[in-house]
Symmetry: C2
Subunit: 375 residues, 2 copies
């Protein structure tokens, strides 16, 4: 009994409330050493772990052990994909299907995504599509994936003309966040994830943003308790939004603050040259600039946002090579275009408030693009 209460003490649970597709997010240190947490969400006797060449040497054995310890009926196959956003495409996705079919997995199998956002998105889409849908579990190993992409069921791959244009809404059985996996994360990846943490503060949680302003140094220094709090509060924000608007009919789109500009940077600049969060940070600065031009926020807020992004060691402008035309061509195929009109997430009012709208002066958008591009 004592063991059980000890284990309970080791993790916190955030619930994503989606009726009969609800699921828990477990957050804590050493969760991969608690096999029962993972095993109770495995359906059937066959598991396919989808991971990449960076994460596999670090955590694959540990995850296989967590899946099989005391559980001899389960067999685990794995597929190791090349690492990076530029491989988030149909060709790489087919490798997951090939492995699943060669391994003769059936509908009762479980796919496990072990890695960052790219692995989670691809494994999730593979799980959504293999035999028209099998169970899956997210084990995110980056801040980006832990605070954002592993939660909420958005899955998919990129098309040469745009990010995440092919995919599915497909929810996992659980998300298991072992914060110890961050110990091996490069500094740049850490900062990239913080861009999404900052986002939650800006769009809906002023108190969280103010906490971040005080604790950014601790986060950058990987202080475990600060990091655990930031992850938990981010997951709570994400879970609330997803519960209210799973399929992104409105509210959920606000999670894309900075992402429309950011996607243009990722697509135009080449997938993976900048990390997702780096592009989102620069994109956030552009959305904030546009909000300010529209007269929707004051200059104090603009300054605070610049400051916190700089503290987090994130870029505050797009790469020099980006042109107005590159932004426009990618933004034209953005998923938030509706009947030809590009809707954007912009800040409006005091800290913690935003709007998702196509009702803005086009000149402000043009001015922002020109201000951040040399041509």
């Amino acid at each position: 009994m004592e063991a059980s209460s000890k284990e309970k003490a080791l993790h916190q649970t955030v619930k994503v409330d989606l009726g009969n597709r609800s699921y828990p997010i477990y957050i804590g240190s050493g969760l991969l050493d608690q096999p029962e947490l993972l095993q109770k969400h495995v359906h059937g006797k066959r598991v396919l772990v989808v991971t990449n060449s960076t994460v596999a040497p670090l955590y694959l054995d540990k995850v296989v052990d967590a899946l099989t310890r005391g559980n001899p009926n389960v067999t685990v196959d794995s597929v190791i994909l090349p690492d990076g956003e530029k491989y988030k495409n149909m060709e790489t996705l087919m490798k997951v299907f090939d492995k699943a079919i060669e391994s003769r997995l059936d509908r009762r199998c479980t796919f496990v995504a072990l890695g960052g956002g790219v692995i989670g998105d691809m494994c999730g889409f593979a799980a959504a599509s293999f035999l028209r849908g099998v169970n899956f579990i997210q084990i995110p190993t980056t801040v980006m994936a832990q605070v954002d992409s592993s939660v909420g069921g958005k899955t998919g791959i990129n098309h040469p003309l745009g990010k995440n244009l092919i995919g599915a809404f497909y929810q996992p059985q659980c998300v298991l966040i072992d914060t110890d996996t961050l110990n091996t994360l490069p500094d740049r990846e850490l900062a990239s994830g913080l861009a999404e943490v900052i986002k939650y503060g800006l769009i809906r949680d002023a108190v969280f943003f103010e906490w971040q302003e005080k604790n950014m140094t601790a986060l950058i220094a990987r202080d475990p308790s600060a990091m655990a709090y930031a992850i938990k509060r981010s997951c709570e924000n994400k879970a609330e939004v997803v519960s209210l608007d799973e399929k992104e009919s409105g509210l959920r789109a606000t999670l894309n603050l900075g992402h429309t500009f950011g996607h243009a940077i990722e697509t135009g600049f080449g997938y993976g040259v900048w990390l997702h969060g780096e592009a989102v940070a620069a994109g956030t600065v552009m959305a904030v600039d546009m909000s300010y031009r529209l007269g929707w926020i004051d200059d104090q807020l603009v300054k605070r946002i610049h400051n916190i992004l700089q503290q987090a060691k994130l870029p505050t402008a797009p790469p020099d090579t980006m042109t107005v035309e590159m932004f426009k061509s990618v933004m034209a195929v953005d998923k938030k275009v509706a009947d030809g009109l590009l809707r954007l997430i912009l800040l409006k009012g005091p800290l913690g408030n935003c709007v998702f709208t196509g009702d803005y002066d086009r000149k402000a958008l043009d001015d922002t693009l020109r201000a951040f591009c040399k041509s």
Copy 2:
């Protein structure tokens, strides 16, 4: 008012009851000349018609007219795929995404599947995955698609190792069956579709089977009223089953009578050499043979099934080149395998009764395979 009641007289509606995803199946002659029927299910201002090189010259203009007549705000793009089961793969699917993205379609667009089962399955999966899901409409132009594949939301593509291994459950906004499109259907395609009509009788509708025994000559001769009745009764059967078990946890699997053997023929023999319904017919004979070996049905029923398939000009045995090993290797990756055990749909009891089970004597399966294969 009179016009409206005339129009009503021209079609019948079968409803697929799936809560907030329910949709109508319209069945009748001349429905493509009733634009309002189609237009009321189009969302947004952009439509992508997905069709093939056989159907496009026959019906694409007609469908574009039905979509746009009196509706100038709607613009229609189209993508014409090569015709045939062998093109039901990821490479062809990508052509749909390419076209949708090049045309800058957004989330409010509607995909329209115009063609047979292959087009419906691919267009449906593309609609399920493009921007994580857009609306779609089925306009089936073959008996096969009208009585079976266009109804119920199963979408997907083949993998070199097996049929329909990659896909989604994704429901259309409506299914529009203009029975006039059958006038251009080759005889062999007509017969292929009848294999699925016969299936409904065998698994759950003895009265319908008996009607077919009396009317098979009329169906083969394309008698319009016999054909309309067969389509409607088939859709009613399919709609009932899908409403009770959308995601195929049990009951829905019974619609796959003959399909496990049939898929092996299609995969082993090469996609598209035999039509789907031809493979299903031979597969049905094999499932019936196995049911008889198990002592689950009497020899009178076996004879009636042979007779009706012969009347429908369908094969009653697999191709000579199929071997026991070819059947076994494809059946091992069938979607109905669960934890290593292949579940089959077999007839049991009087006409109109079947079971979906993995609980059968393996010897009966081996004996059936050996009886139908030379090696």
